[in-house]
Homo-oligomer: 207 residues x 2
DNA sequence: GTCTATATTTGGATAGAC
DNA sequence: GTCTATCCAAATATAGAC
């Protein structure tokens, strides 16, 4: 009994190809014929593996999210201070973009539309779960004094969530910057800002 | 000869309805029948006003972008320091989200797909233009000493661009926060960060 | 597991009456 | 400016042979 990455089955191989197309062109703009052609087979053959186009995205997204949220849970449960947890959660996210760019892109672009169907109700649940993770991290950060006391937690959560994931729009694995470098830069901006000068009327605390 | 806002023609009224649907569900997920129904007419009647569904988004996007970039140009040309220009450009963007949420959403969600067609080549041009605006502002900011000298300009540009526009996903005109408040919060985070503590190994300059 | 052939549905678009 | 009626293309999905 081993947990090593097994050789990709035909099924997972096809899912990977579909994910690439969904990510690139969007779910609705990708036809089953596109997927079949990219896989070197005909559209009818796809239905030997999957019920429908919908069930393909479904499997792509749910598999990815399971993995992702397990990782967040591990960060939340870890025994380090709030700032370190935030650091890790951010790095984890950029790492996810690096390792699963297609899945992240599909979620970013199509979750809004797909979420409208019962079948994809779990997308909204996962969204709520993500909010809980970040709000609790930020709240802990403010309480412990690591973060500015005047932060609007809700607003800051949205900024972080969106600004991290939106990087999937331009980040390319193997490109000029590694995901670690990007996380470094992002954390620097997020924590310290881009300015040399502290704001004149800033209510910033320095002990 | 007046430039006052004229009463909406039937044409602009229909475009507004279409924009709302495109923004909410995506261009491809919105059918001509959807637009017609929301307008209280039948699908065939739409073709009295427009050539095609494509020409509808085209008009929505190009009209908006013309207005937006005129505003950016005004900021660029204004006679103030770099930091103030950046401040104004950011505020301008949040204001655009406030005043044209549908147009911004459509651009965010569908520009990637639409940009693949010749007809929408101007989307890529506008993107390049936007990059020039921000890169020149940031470069000026670093040179003048207002911004940290170790900034990766290209990366910072992408962060700002994406993080500003992505707000359209959750911002609701007339909601809990005004676009001005959101711009305030965002600029504080962008310029000064969310941390109380300056980073230990941060190469931050303070004269 | 893939192909051939085809059923079925959906959606963009048109023509002409009112 | 809208409706009725309809065409046509595209796309999802199915059935059975190989």
């Amino acid at each position: 009994m081993s947990t090593e990455p097994t050789a990709p089955t035909r099924r997972t191989e096809l899912l990977g190809i579909a994910a690439g197309l969904f990510a690139e062109k969007g779910f609705k703009n990708t036809t089953v014929r596109d997927i079949a052609e990219a896989s070197g087979i005909l559209s009818g053959s796809l239905y030997h593996h999957f019920d429908s186009k919908e069930s393909m995205v479904d499997e792509i997204l749910s598999t990815f999210q399971e993995e992702l949220f397990a990782a967040y849970d591990a960060v939340l449960a870890s025994d380090v201070d709030a700032r370190t947890k935030i650091d890790r959660a951010v790095r984890l996210s950029f790492q996810a973009i690096d390792q699963h760019p297609h899945e992240v892109a599909i979620f970013q672009n199509d979750a809004g539309y797909l979420g409208g169907f019962e079948r994809f109700g779990y997308l909204a649940e996962r969204n709520a779960q993500s909010r809980e993770v970040w709000v609790s991290l930020l709240t802990e950060g403010v309480r412990s004094g690591a973060l500015r006391h005047d932060l609007d937690i809700e607003l800051t959560y949205r900024f972080i969530r969106d600004t991290v994931w939106v990087a999937v729009k331009w980040y390319r694995p193997g490109g000029r910057h590694s995901h670690v470098e990007i996380a470094d830069q992002y954390l620097t901006i997020l924590l310290d800002g881009i300015s040399t000068d502290p704001q004149s009327p800033s209510p910033r605390e320095r002990p």
